[in-house]
Symmetry: D2
Subunit: 203 residues, 4 copies
């Protein structure tokens, strides 16, 4: 049976919850289309992530691969098409590092492009009544790093599988502290299920 690797992140920057980690946990072991989901929660670490992503690809040999992360002020599901070769953050990651405008890979390309075509996925999310949009900039934090390095890991192993990144809004409970947009977990799970089904279709 085909496998979909679905990763989220642990909480960061003083937060106690990260919707992407919650969705990964909720869908771990689920069956979507004809595939089984392997849900994993990753550390928010510029340094440790590249190796961890490589290991997940090696161990799991997934047939499709989706990363998820939190985009704090975002009101919608946001599908990331580009990952740039850059790390920059004003706030420290969970290892205490805040990279200042430096390349992710000194010899890598300026950017990589998601291998799952995202235009049709956005259309299907919207057809299902879920606010979603296509994005051309995944930021310069660990989410962008995930997509850049996941695509690199697949290239290096010559594995041509669908791979993309999903930015999620805050959970309602996160919007209690600062006035910001949010989306209930159930709606996020429904959205990610739909993206996953599309990724498996393309696998």
């Amino acid at each position: 049976m085909p496998t979909l690797l679905l990763t989220g992140f642990e909480p960061f920057d003083g937060g106690t919850v990260n919707p992407s980690g919650e969705v990964a946990r909720r869908l771990d072991g689920a069956r979507i289309a004809a595939a089984t989901v392997v849900g994993r929660v990753l550390p928010v670490s510029f340094e440790r992530l590249p190796a961890l992503i490589g290991e997940l690809v090696d161990r799991g040999a997934p047939d499709a691969m989706l990363g998820m992360g939190l985009a704090a002020a975002e009101p919608m599901i946001r599908l990331e098409q580009f990952a740039i070769n850059r790390a920059h953050s004003e706030r420290a990651d969970n290892d205490g590092l805040a990279p200042d405008d430096r390349p992710l890979d000194a010899v890598g390309p300026a950017a990589r492009i998601a291998t799952l075509p995202l235009g049709p996925v956005v259309a299907r999310l919207r057809a299902a009544g879920i606010p979603a949009r296509l994005s051309f900039h995944a930021g310069t934090h660990c989410c962008n790093l995930w997509l850049y390095h996941a695509l690199a890991a697949l290239e290096r192993r010559d594995r041509r599988i669908p791979c993309a990144f999903i930015h999620l809004p805050c959970l309602p409970e996160q919007a209690l502290a600062t006035p910001t947009a949010s989306m209930p977990l159930d709606l996020m799970v429904e959205a990610v299920r739909l993206v996953a089904a599309n990724a498996i279709d393309q696998a």
Copy 2:
């Protein structure tokens, strides 16, 4: 049995749905605490609303009164404490009128204050995990008009009952066209039920 009058608005400005009207319909006839909800959907009309509000008060003799309306870019439940004596709108209401910075009542006070104390209500919504905030400005559209004229109608009849206004975010389906914050209908209904229970407690 005590009665809570709960009003929402019809769609406006080209929209096909208004969450406040949907919530009013969903809760019409519901029992909250020891009270029965009378849910009504009002026209978005600067001219017709004052008389309609007066009639609802006269006919229903409610024991508590909550207005609801849409605040298009708002990401949270917003409880309105003030209504100012002003009508101003760049966009026409459903009668084609767009008042330009004019008083709602040439001889009325500069503002009126909601008779339901809203600080504790916000605290209870947040304790229930629902993003909510206290607001000091209800705008200058029909929502502000509702609160100003509802409080006027109660004053004129010397009816001292809890009365306030709830601004709701867009529904997810409304956020499909423009990228904006949204909240599912079920969460809105849960929030309004909680506000209503507090209003009845104070009645």
Copy 3:
């Protein structure tokens, strides 16, 4: 010769500059239309301001009165028409006080309205190419307090003079720390001169 009282505020909340204080200093002693400007810089203090405003009115017997303050995220000149009877602030003023949703005056009206008609003033600012807008909500900080208490002081003394409040954006130097809109001091001074000329015309 008629006198225009023009007040700004000192820096607050850790800032080192406040554009409103700078403009007050720059225009102190200036002649605008047929009037002399008396420019004063006030403390950001919920407790001390009411008495200080009263003293300025008593000592100066101004023929027109304009308050100015900073609206940190505002990109335009914003003319305030309403002051509500409320003080609320998440951040402490310069005395360390952060009032939590409490009335400015336990027996005062719910709001007061600026006595300088602001619609035409906005039109003249815009005709001069200066981004400006009419506002119906002055917030719940010391700016709103200024307008509420200045109008109260004038009422109490039965002095019918033009009185309004001007919110200014950040200065470019303030926008260095946080990415926010700003306006150079010279353009602010030009804008305030124009508002002042209109206030004196109405005096």
Copy 4:
């Protein structure tokens, strides 16, 4: 004497002015550091721009090259470090074209990186009191196209000169219609002069 090519754009999307075109006109022929500025105004055209950029490089053989464009909601000077291989616009360009998520160059790299190091330039702008920030996403309109194709033109000709793109805020006159951040033309010109001096230093 070395030459700096400095391009802006004509107005678009119904506008009557474009600050980037104004700055290009103002600085055409100016001497900055030891160089002469060649200021040019380009059409907002996804189709015609690539060839026009190539011609400017061929005819002028510039020693440094800066593009400028308008970023409508941006409050600061924004220096663009990345150009992605994508064109996407909801609104038509001046030829009536609105590309829908398509590559700029079917065989080109996923992105190109500005050849003028921008971190130090941002630091100098800020030291001069000018609100400025480093950006990692130039959008998907003609501004991003300019940077992608300018860098391509230089690569193809093996010309290693400093090249980057500057996004400018609205002019105050543009902020009259919609409430948005703005910056006076003189401050923009000062900012662009500073960026240009840095580019010539690196040439």
